[in-house]
Each structure stands twice: as C-alpha cells, then as structure tokens.
Symmetry: C2
Subunit: 344 residues, 2 copies
C-alpha cells in the first residue's frame, strides 16, 4: 500500500508509491556526462578569463594576477543575470498587485580550471576551496542591506538545467527571503517555541537512531534520505553541530564537509549512472542574528539549521505536482538509502 | 530592469527577467505531437476497452454497453494508481514524523475515442462532454468522506509528463488538501475577512480593467496571463461568476467554457508550435460548504473561486526554482498575452 508522509520541516505531504516501486536501473536517464559540448569554446576554462566578466574573488597562486590563469576556484558575475546588481530596491503596488525592482546578485562559481572534471571526481582539497568560496560570497553579500537571502545551488547535466558543462555552481542574492526557506523557518520557529529544541537537530537524532534512511556519516556531518523524500534518491547533508548559517561553520569542519560531499556524489554517480542532479544550500536568511554580526544579541539562533539538499533528476514533474505541491515518489527513501549505502 | 512580482493568491514572488526576454520562436521545444507512438497498441482507443480496467462512467450511445465501443468520453481507473481506492485512511506518527495510508482515487479520463485527435482540435461539443465527465467524477468522489480533495489535471506531451499520447486527463482524489490549494484558500480567506470581497473576483476585475494581460473573454469566462506568471505563456481561465467549486458551474455555462478552452489551446498551439503543457483544475476542497451539499449553511462560500491554470512546458526547472520556490520567467506576461491575443 502506498504511504502519505509529511515533512515536518516544510509541511509537505509526499506520496511514497510503492506500487510503482523503482530501482536504480529502472530510471533510463541520459547520463549527465553525455552533454554535447565544445571544450575549445568554453568560457569557464583556465586561460579563457578574458571571455568572462571580471572576477569577484578567486583561490589562486599568490604570484598570479586576477583574470589570469593560476586559479583553482573562481567567482565571476553571471553574464546573463536574472537580477541586476546596480540600483535601489524600489517597492510599489498596483491595485492588488505588489512588485519590487529586480535587484540582486547573480554569480557563477567555477569549481575547477579543467574542463572535464566533475565535482565527484575532484580531490577533497578542491571541494574544500569551493566551500571556502561559498563562504566568502555569502559573508560579503549578507552585508549588503538590500539583500535578504543568498541562495547557492548547482545544476549538473542538461536535464537539471545546466547550460555549460564545465563544473560550476551559481549564487543568487535576492531582496526577499525565498518562499521555501520562509516555510522551513516558520515551522522550525514554531517547533522551537513549543519544545525549546531545534526541529532539525531532533530529526538528525531520530534518523541516526533509526538508521534505515542513513547514507553516510562522519565526525561532523550526516547524510540521509529524508523521511518524506519528494524525489527518488533525494538526500540531505546536515552538520551535526547546530548552526543556523553555512557561514557559521567552523573552518575545521570544512574538510569533513568536502569529504562528505565527495562521498555522497560518488555514491549517486555509481548507483544511478552519473545522473543529472541539483543541489541547493539552505542557509539562514541574512537577517538571522548570528555571532560576529553587528545585530547579534548574544544568543544563538535555534530557528534554523543549515543543510544541503541533493536532488537527482530522474523523474519528470507533471501536472499533478505543479498543480498540487504534492509529490509522488516511486522509490521509498529506505530503499534509496539502502542502495546508496551498499554501493561502496 | 528585471522585476519581482508577487502573486496575491499564493504569496509567490516571481522574477520577470526582461534581460533574458524570450519570444515564442526562442523556445526550441520539441513539439508535443512528435511523441513516438504505436497506435495499434494504445489501450485508450475505441475497440480496446478490454485492455483497461472496467469503466466508471462514460458518455456513450444509449444502445451501447459499458466497456464496449460507442462512447465519446470514458473514465477508467488508472492501471498503475499512485494511491489505492480500497481501505481506511489510517493516520499514525513516528517520533517527529507523521504518515497516513495512501488511500485515494486515481482515474484516467479518455477525452476521445480516436487516437490522433488533440484537445485543441476537438469540436466544442466533445470538450463539453469532457467537462461533463469532470463534474460527474468530482460530484461522486466528494461524497466519499475519506477524501479531502479531487484534483483534475492534464499532461500533454512527453516533456509535460504524459506517457500515453492518446488524449486523456487524469484525476487524483486525496485524503489531504494539497498544499498549493491550501495556500490559495488561506490567502483568499484572509482577504475576504478583511474586505468582504473575493480576492479572485477583484483580480479578474483588475485584469479586465487593465487589459494588457488579457487573452480571451466571452460571456462567462475570462483568460489572462497572471501578473506574477511563473512560466512563459502561462495562462489562467476564470469563470466571471463567483463559484467556489467547478461542480457549482451552472450547466448553461459549460458550452462557453468548452469554447474558451478550445480557443486558448488553439492559440497556444499556433503561437508555440504545439507545445507540451499541463493544465490543472483548481477547485474548492470537498469540505467547503456549497449549495446542494448536506452541510451547506445557506451562505455562498466566498473563500475560493475555481479556475484552470494552463502551463506550457517550455523551460527547464533548475536548482534555483527547486531550492527557493521562487521562479525566473524570461517572458513577461504582458508580452505573452500580446502574442496569444494577436495570433488569431
């Protein structure tokens, strides 16, 4: 019998439809690596720095120059930004409608100087530098009073929305807090007010105790398939220690996050034949008080617990999902976790 | 400059990114008609009634037999249902998680006996019979106390999630009210409490007054591209007269809805080269009191106003959308409406 499950973080109900149970080999997804691609024209490769806007920050050799070779991770403005960086956030109304000028940052984080390396294949040290770049950009952009949120995400493979095959992440800073984060924030706030405990911490404890949805753990990080997984083989990375924002992660934890990401992306690649995927960093909105911030009140915010959501793109979203916000998942998270645990 | 726009019905913010402005010819979507397909094996064709589960209801010649030829619209259970019809809705909890048995109805509404006819090409009278079938099924299923909602939707073309090319809609009845409908319901309830007016009625009035997003109107129906369109060429069909539920639509309006649907689907087909699309009928949850229902209190519910949302599937949803619930739309609704108005 299928099961309806509710995610306590988002209040989302999901149908785990075991009648349609699907194993890894049942998904005939074109491998993400198969994207047609002309490396000689790639603007993200080392040596092509003049094909991109000026770099914002990079991890590079001390004897190298900005916008020249010698880097390992490089952050540049998106050439075709969805939001523009210059201007004020003007709010206006028109009858029942509300609007705002489309001010924001839209950046590309080039993960490697080499054209044919995927994140799963990069050494842990390179992933660490990528995570360093994420932190730099969030820390810088959250100072900009126009922005409420900094969203970092990665599209891997054409079916996941990537238009360039060279490994890269993206960042969009917005003058509003995105709706999904708002919902998570609201629910975890209500939970904390009632119980004086973090909802996410409680979920991690329960997942570690039950074990059946657990995929990977190390000293500082835990990966599991969420109880109400929307998508087959969806999995979330959580820091064990409670921090509202990604940028609050102590530097000593970064190496372990890099190891964790490499491990879980490798599991996905092996289990599902290098599938297209998205991942999204869910961190606290800029306005959440945190140690080191000028408006910090001296208490740690328990309202949020940052995490990374990884979504393999194996199924098509149809009218039902768009129309209802309810998802049908043909692979139970327990089964998905079992496959991902056992592959290595 | 791009614009952030808020939908007053869902509280969704959308980025209308004019920098990435796209016209109909910029979308290189494979035409939905191009789905590879073997008509001789289609189980939905007239004469193949023995290949499907027993029919639930059909519009058929009076001298014909159930599960035999002679029908024009035919409703059957889905052979691979996401939810199952037999059983009780058992609710349970496990630590912080909540679950429910996956009870529900999952039906297929075959729109025509012929294999190669699309909804846009069907005569208005046939679309009327389809709408009759929608009403029959909602009216029947809302009596089942286990179900909170009846969702009707259509997937057209493989990119929109259709797995059979023979024209059909689907219905899923669920023991919960889907999240998106809940949000719409909440916002329209708050609006009505404040203003004693229906939010949807106000929106229709404003759209008719402004005119720039209007696509089609007749005596009883209005079609416009919503102010905060999530997707290029998205458009919504609204009844002018206030009714919470689709099944409350007086029969004399049905012919005009059929005409309206044929018109707007033909406009989409011509403008965008027969694009894949989804449509979703948003109607009030089963529990909303309505004339003719046993729990009707004698007042008309102003909390909801049924409508149909049509979504052409022209763009890929990437990490940003999945991660934020915020959409980037490269075509402004004003421009989309202009193209759709002028095509005919």
């Amino acid at each position: 019998m299928p099961e309806l499950r509710k995610c306590p973080i988002t209040d989302r109900w999901v149908v785990i439809s075991t009648e349609r149970g699907r194993r890894p080999t049942d998904f005939s997804t074109p491998s993400a690596a198969g994207v047609a691609d002309d490396a000689s024209k790639c603007p993200l490769c080392e040596g092509k720095e003049d094909k991109t806007p000026h770099e914002i920050v990079a991890w590079r050799r001390t004897d190298s120059q900005p916008d020249k070779p010698g880097w390992q991770v490089r952050v540049i403005p998106n050439k075709f930004p969805a939001l523009v960086i210059e201007g004020d956030v003007n709010r206006s109304g028109m009858g029942i409608f509300d609007m705002m000028s489309g001010i924001g940052a839209h950046e590309v984080i080039v993960e490697t100087p080499s054209h044919n390396v995927t994140l799963a294949d990069m050494p842990e040290e390179s992933i660490e530098k990528l995570l360093w770049a994420y932190k730099q950009r969030i820390t810088d952009l959250e100072k900009d009073k126009r922005f409420r949120y900094v969203l970092i995400f990665k599209n891997y493979g054409s079916a996941a929305g990537a238009s360039l095959s060279h490994a890269h992440s993206q960042l969009i800073a917005t003058p509003i807090t995105p709706r999904y984060v708002k919902m998570e924030l609201h629910n975890s706030r209500v939970y904390f007010q009632e119980k004086e405990r973090c909802l996410f911490c409680d979920m991690i404890r329960q997942e570690l105790g039950q074990g059946e949805r657990l995929i990977y753990e190390n000293e500082y990080f835990v990966v599991f398939a969420p109880f109400a997984s929307r998508f087959p083989f969806e999995n979330w990375i959580f820091p064990r220690r409670h921090h509202a924002g990604f940028q609050d992660m102590p530097d000593e934890e970064r190496a372990q996050l890099a190891r964790c990401m490499k491990d879980v992306l490798t599991r996905l690649k092996k289990t599902l034949n290098d599938p297209p995927f998205n991942y999204v960093l869910h961190t606290a909105p800029n306005a959440v008080p945190r140690p080191g911030k000028p408006d910090y009140w001296g208490t740690i915010s328990y309202d949020y617990h940052w995490h990374i959501e990884i979504i393999p793109r194996l199924t098509k979203q149809a009218g039902f999902e768009w129309g209802s916000g309810l998802y049908i998942n043909p692979t139970s998270p327990e089964e998905a976790a079992k496959y991902l645990r056992e592959i290595m």
